[in-house]
């Protein structure tokens, strides 16, 4: 602030700066809220992990962990984008269909058009981005709600997959294509590397860039953001494009894992993705959410699914467990907010 507002005042006897006495404990408390929030999901993750280590001899084997990681990668990559979308108080229901369409079309680029596989991965990603762009334009130019827009897109993209493939899988990709979903570098699974890199990047964007700050501002109060001169439509559209790109890329990871394009991939995937973000502390009302939390949420869901399989729990029960975990996570989130009324970030 260059122009100094002199604080000598005609207003008599200002009260002293209030609350300073309590500030240390208060600040400590505000910090605690942060830690506790992530602890809840993180703590649950650790407990389930330890439990499964003892309950199943297979759980803590390299093979199984690799399996979990590559399964989670698809969900986690999309959930990174979903974190942005949910922070803006939006939603994207079309990510599962988008991943299927992009994954299938990417594979068709290789099989039918002879495109080299690395370029096809880029191609599939861009197709996802185009779907995201259409979502973004429908929301911001045609002013449809995100729910309706992406509900429609969920059907459109799923329908297009069937039209392009006649609902038959696309095969004939070279073995090298499997690298993305199944390969390792120095023994580290490539899908894990991909998730870690994307998560780091997303975390930096969310906390250290204009795009990230505007994401929170738009979700916290869109009208205030607009009246503060933020071009909210442009940014919102961009965020749906990012979500689309990530869904497309995740579709290619999924195709690479099975070395083919599967038209039925990703049915119901959007719900896992949204659940991951919500378990990780993102609020559907907007303005809240972190990448770390979302990752924890994604891995928690995967490990529960994996553990259920290892322990021979009926598949129907898995969904019940996941549902209850969502309730518990959101209940906990609301409980702690009420408990620590003076919340801060």
């Amino acid at each position: 602030m260059k122009n100094i507002i002199n604080s000598s005042s005609e207003v008599a006897d200002q009260p002293p700066i209030e609350e300073v006495g309590a500030s240390f404990t208060q600040r400590l408390r505000e910090r605690l809220v942060d830690v506790v929030a992530q602890l809840a999901a993180g703590g649950a993750l650790i407990i389930v992990f330890i439990y499964l280590t003892f309950a199943s001899p297979v759980f803590l084997t390299l093979n199984n962990l690799f399996n979990i990681v590559s399964q989670t990668a698809v969900t986690a990559v999309i959930a990174i984008g979903m974190t942005f979308v949910i922070i803006t108080s939006g939603i994207d229901l079309s990510v599962g269909s988008n991943a299927a369409l992009s994954g299938v079309l990417g594979v068709m680029l290789i099989v039918n058009s002879g495109v080299p596989w690395p370029l096809a991965i880029l191609g599939g990603t861009i197709i996802g981005g185009i779907i995201g762009l259409v979502n973004g334009l429908l929301i911001n130019a045609a002013r449809l709600s995100p729910f309706i827009t992406t509900l429609g897109m969920m059907g459109v993209a799923r329908g297009l997959v069937s039209i392009f493939t006649n609902s038959v899988g696309v095969y004939g990709t070279p073995d090298d294509f499997q690298l993305l979903g199944q390969g390792t570098i120095y023994g580290i699974p490539i899908p894990l590397l991909v998730v870690v890199l994307l998560a780091l990047l997303a975390h930096l964007i969310l906390n250290r860039t204009r795009l990230g700050r505007y994401t929170y501002a738009i979700g916290s109060n869109g009208e205030a953001a607009r009246l503060s001169g933020i071009p909210i439509k442009r940014y919102l559209t961009l965020i749906y494009v990012i979500q689309g790109l990530l869904a497309g890329f995740a579709g290619m990871i999924a195709s690479s894992r099975v070395n083919s394009g599967q038209p039925n991939f990703g049915i119901g995937l959007e719900l896992d993705v949204i659940a991951a973000a919500v378990i990780g502390g993102a609020s559907l009302f907007g303005g809240q959410g972190t990448i770390l939390g979302t990752l924890i949420g994604a891995f928690l869901i995967s490990i529960i699914r994996n553990g259920a399989v290892l322990l021979n729990v009926n598949i129907y029960y898995q969904n019940v467990i996941i549902g209850v975990v969502i309730w518990l996570a959101v209940f906990w989130d609301q409980f702690r907010r009420r408990k620590f009324a003076v919340a801060s970030r």
């Binding site: 507002i5 009260p15 505000e30 860039t209 204009r210 109060n221 801060s344 970030r345």
Partner: protein, 502 residues
């Protein structure tokens, strides 16, 4: 009426409400007599609203007793309080917009016949009750089609249907026009005639003196004094509320008025604004006066690019600017502090620092400079005396006055040459009001051009160099400071002068 006027209908004895760490209401004793308007005054956070929630049984007291007609009442939730005859008219109305007036009035107590809702009785009784509050409308209409004032009267009629003995009103005039306030006061008068006691919470001093029989002042959760109307004046009331003298509520400094900074010509927006033109000078404080809905906020929003305009030009410092969005307005050097801080001013769950930098992020190539952001926020905290233990604190936990300072800081950060303050003191304590006005004065002294929008005339009369009066989307006239008078402005705002002339 079985009650004697000398016996309190309602007695609160040593009522306390403790929230973790604080006493929101601390050992309050209070008597309410039939037929009186008992005003509860106090700053934000003084405990008025909590006390009313205890009475209407939304919250349970931690200790103490409440006697209704000498009988202690037990805590059983708001329904129980209603059935005892304690009705609450909320600030935000609790009516269901998609139901009819009659359905709303008998919600939860529908007259039945053979187990089905007896609609004709419902409608008939609604009509009678509506008449008692001076509303002559069809009870079969939907609530969503009513004005705020009408909705409020429906709420009051609903309270009457419950045969209420005590009616609690929480800032009922906050969004009413002068005419509507007048009608509301008539209704209140009729109710007290019938022996109903009114507990009336208010911020507005002028109102308190118009309707109160007795005034109870609260501060920090405690009752400071209960006095009959005759024993208080404005100065005393403020001192009781704030706990200290306020030398001058409207500290207007003398400023030198400079060049024209903003020139607005022929601004028109279909059905809202018609051909509005004016000039604003550096260092000038220009008031926008007018009735609620006359187009003051609309004119500000149009100039700021928040709403589209159909015609008109805007010049800033002699240069014509095209303003199609708030973004463009900010670039041109215009800032707008909105009327409703919570709805379209603040990002509630972001920190003070993030709210301050929202209109002017310190970025290099898209990357935030967090150190710069922190320094900016700390500087603003010191200069505007934003009282907080941490600048990272979420704004939702701040008081109204502190929140307002956060928004002021945001706009100072943009280096705006023209600043609109739309109802800057709404919902703000008396003490904080003086600080905000002090700040506005200092900004004018620095040569910024200020437009002050307010529904409370004394604010404009004291702070402004010139007042534009807006009526039905047009500028009805301008009044210079030497010619300021309440009558002149009201005449322009209501069009009374024209009628006289005819």
């Amino acid at each position: 009426m079985s009650l004697s006027k000398d016996e309190p209908v309602l007695r609160l004895q040593h009522i306390s409400k403790q929230f973790p760490g604080v006493f929101a209401v601390n050992d309050v004793s209070l008597d309410v007599y039939p037929g009186e308007v008992h005003v509860v005054a106090g700053e934000n956070g003084a405990g008025k609203s909590t006390l009313m929630k205890l009475l209407s049984q939304v919250e349970k007291p931690s200790s103490g007793t409440i006697l209704l007609n000498h009988e202690p009442i037990r805590f059983h939730g708001p329904q129980h309080a209603q059935s005892l005859g304690i009705a609450m008219i909320y600030q935000e109305f609790a009516l269901a917009p998609h139901l009819t007036i009659a359905q709303n009035m008998f919600l939860g107590q529908e007259p039945l016949r053979l187990g089905l809702i007896d609609r004709s009785t419902e409608i008939q009784r609604s009509r009678t009750l509506l008449k008692q509050v001076g509303l002559n409308i069809d009870p079969r209409r939907l609530v969503s089609g009513l004005s705020v004032a009408e909705q409020q009267l429906v709420e009051i009629a609903k309270a009457l249907s419950l045969d209420a003995k005590v009616v609690i009103m929480d800032e009922p005039t906050a969004t009413l026009t002068e005419q509507e306030i007048h009608e509301l006061f008539n209704v209140i008068h009729n109710m007290t005639e019938r022996g109903i006691a009114i507990l009336y919470i208010s911020h507005r001093l002028d109102e308190i003196f118009r309707i109160a029989h007795r005034v109870t002042v609260m501060r920090d959760g405690q009752v400071v004094a209960t006095l009959p109307r005759a024993e208080i004046d404005e100065k005393k009331l403020i001192r009781l509320m704030v706990g200290r003298e306020i030398a001058n509520l409207y500290p207007k400094p003398s400023t030198t008025i400079g060049e024209v900074v903003l020139r607005v010509t022929g601004i028109t927006r279909a059905h809202v604004l018609r051909n509005c033109s004016f000039e604003l000078h550096a260092g000038e404080i220009l008031g926008f006066a007018g009735l609620v809905g006359a187009g003051r906020t609309e004119l500000a929003r149009a100039i700021f690019g928040a709403d589209r305009i159909d015609a008109g030009t805007i010049e800033v410092e002699g240069k014509k600017v095209r303003i199609k969005s708030p973004e463009a307005a900010i670039q041109a050097g215009i800032g707008y502090l909105t009327e409703d801080r919570k709805r379209d001013g603040l990002a509630m769950n972001l920190g003070i620092d993030q709210n301050i930098t929202m209109a002017h992020l310190p970025v290099v190539a898209g990357i935030l400079n967090l150190g710069q952001e922190r320094r900016t926020a700390l500087q603003a905290r010191d200069q505007l005396r934003i009282r907080t233990p941490s600048i990272r604190r979420k704004v939702e936990v701040l008081s109204g006055g502190t929140q307002q300072k956060v928004i002021v800081a945001r706009w100072l950060e943009t280096q705006a040459k023209v600043l609109f303050f739309d109802e800057p003191t709404r919902g703000i304590d008396v003490g904080a009001k003086a600080e905000i006005f002090d700040l506005i004065g200092k900004l004018a002294q620095q040569g910024r051009a200020i437009i002050l929008i307010s529904s409370y005339l004394p604010e404009l009369l004291n702070m402004c160099d010139r007042i534009l009066v807006i009526r039905e989307g047009q500028i009805a006239g301008a009044v210079e400071r030497e010619q300021f008078s309440e009558e002149r402005i009201i005449a322009l705002a209501t069009g009374a002068r024209e009628i006289e002339a005819q």
